[in-house]
Symmetry: C2
Subunit: 336 residues, 2 copies
């Protein structure tokens, strides 16, 4: 694999730190690595592959001589810096939602639509965490029998909101167990020992932005606007790992055993599904596993051709940092 | 309202205690009250409406002179004692799943099918908690436009399993926060900060008993076997209150505003749905509210006529004890 110069923007955040871990774990072939963040985090020393790096403040000049810029610093940072990155000849792989639905920006899950990478004009977008983990196991099913409609309900971890939210869940849980008063800050209501049917802002149609991401991004990644998706996204008191209950209306029948076989053979998917041994995936399982975990695979007899699935993945890794770096690896393979 | 003699079987359990609270709160018109339980709990002194009662061991003779026996002591106790209760002329209102699907046993939610009570032959069954809270808001929608298919994913509290499970969630949460080892006993896997897509035993079709209860009981309560239901039931780390994400395929179109109006006018339902003010129901809201709470009411545009709902209720009260006592109240009205 060819080598290149990499910059990580938002290196000190929850996803940024996970990116550095993954660059190290996968021995990503960079020549030069630059860690960038805001003023507040500049000066932090971080170690990657045994070498120490000082985090620098992100400026337009930071991207001179950079080949790939991995962004996870929020939509505003991505919007403000995109032109600076691209005009210097670097490719931006962006974890924010800023450019995901732009026509000239490929939205990529490497197991699903790697061919879309070639269409980029300087920016490649990484999809939303809940969408990524859903489309990985759906792709082989789509290819085999077609998917006409998806009804998805999510069980999402607080780490999707960030480090502050993880702290809030821990602190609130402690206070409630000690019978102390709580004072929600990150979420509008108590998250410990509760569930909030609300992720991201509400749109005029009363769906949330998270729900509409699942609709629009799924169609774009699968390159098929005819797939119907309706979503209800819910935050639950889990630190890491998103769960999804997915009901599929298929183009033609698929038996549960055949679905299990198909998914077992799919790159990036692990089937954990043995009711006799009470084997099914849970969020805790996803903490140490980079695969998308699938279980509770059952035919839905209320449809001509229907299937129910329970899908779990680590939202910080496959849902964010890992997918971003997998895109970078594919890009190097084909372009550098 | 006429008075009668009441026995509560399983009086010291989580649901039994809630029954006693509700008998008191609603000033239920009993003449004589008898608290029954197993050997282990006999002798316990419990106070209802300011009067002390000693819990007695349940025997066949316990039901002499009883008019209504409220059972919440598990399926085996209900099966073993049913004939003893009925042959003595008492009516058994049973919270277990023992008789729910028997043809000669009405399965009743008073807001939905009170007329079925009249058909009883000595036993009336109280439905499963997740089914009760779903059918209450679905009934007015069914009456207005018809319901053809239901896709439901649940977010269920551990109190559905019982007092031991509540203790396990609290203890596990404390241990995890203190970074101590945990050793799951009530559930097969860690429930604190996790979600388990598994409630009750697995059947041969790979659905759980809880999931099939939602299918079969919904059809029976609604008196319509043509309603298609598919369910995925999930346990989450919440103490009290079940949440449900419900997707409906309707017989004909119903606008969200019309659905809100209809539900607002329904007995036993409270609509909490104002996205502008981030108002939606959560499990914590259900702890102090006997209504079934409904929010996130949205048209599902992927269907000719579709609707998404988020339904929350207190599983120990409306899902169990309260519904049982509401059945008893209706029975007294019509029969005594």
């Amino acid at each position: 694999m060819k080598r290149c110069n990499v910059a990580v923007v938002g290196a000190t955040g929850a996803v940024g730190r996970e990116m550095l871990n993954i660059l190290e774990e996968r021995d990503f072939p960079y020549d030069d690595l630059k860690l960038l963040a805001t003023e507040r985090s500049a000066g932090t020393i971080m170690t990657v592959k045994g070498e120490e790096y000082e985090v620098e403040v992100t400026t337009p000049e930071s991207f001179e001589d950079v080949d790939i810029a991995l962004f996870s610093a929020g939509s505003t940072a991505s919007e403000n810096l995109a032109e600076e990155v691209v005009s210097r000849g670097a490719v931006m792989i962006d974890n924010s939602s800023a450019f995901r639905m732009d026509d000239d920006v490929p939205l990529v899950v490497p197991e699903v639509n790697p061919e879309d990478i070639a269409q980029h004009e300087g920016i490649i977008a990484n999809p939303n965490c809940s969408t990524i983990q859903m489309v990985v196991p759906l792709k082989p099913i789509y290819d085999k029998v077609g998917i006409e409609r998806i009804v998805v309900s999510t069980y999402q971890a607080v780490s999707g909101t960030g480090k502050d939210a993880m702290d809030e869940l821990v602190e609130q849980s402690e206070k409630i167990l000690n019978e102390e008063e709580i004072d929600p800050e990150v979420y509008p209501e108590q998250i410990a020992f509760n569930a909030l049917p609300h992720i991201d802002v509400f749109f005029d149609n009363d769906y949330t932005k998270e729900e509409m991401k699942m609709v629009n991004e799924t169609q774009k990644i699968m390159n098929d606007d005819s797939i119907k998706v309706t979503a209800t996204t819910v935050r639950i008191p889990v630190l890491i790992g998103h769960g999804e209950s997915v009901n599929l209306e298929l183009g033609s029948k698929l038996e549960a055993e055949e679905a299990k076989r198909l998914l077992s053979e799919t790159e990036g998917v692990k089937v954990i599904d043995n009711p006799d041994e009470l084997a099914y995936p849970t969020q805790i399982d996803s903490e140490e596993d980079d695969d998308v975990l699938v279980g509770r695979i059952r035919v839905d007899e209320t449809l001509e051709a229907g299937l129910n699935l329970w899908i779990v993945a680590n939202n910080l890794r496959k849902g964010a940092a890992l997918n971003t770096i997998q895109i970078a690896e594919k890009l190097i393979e084909t372009e550098f």
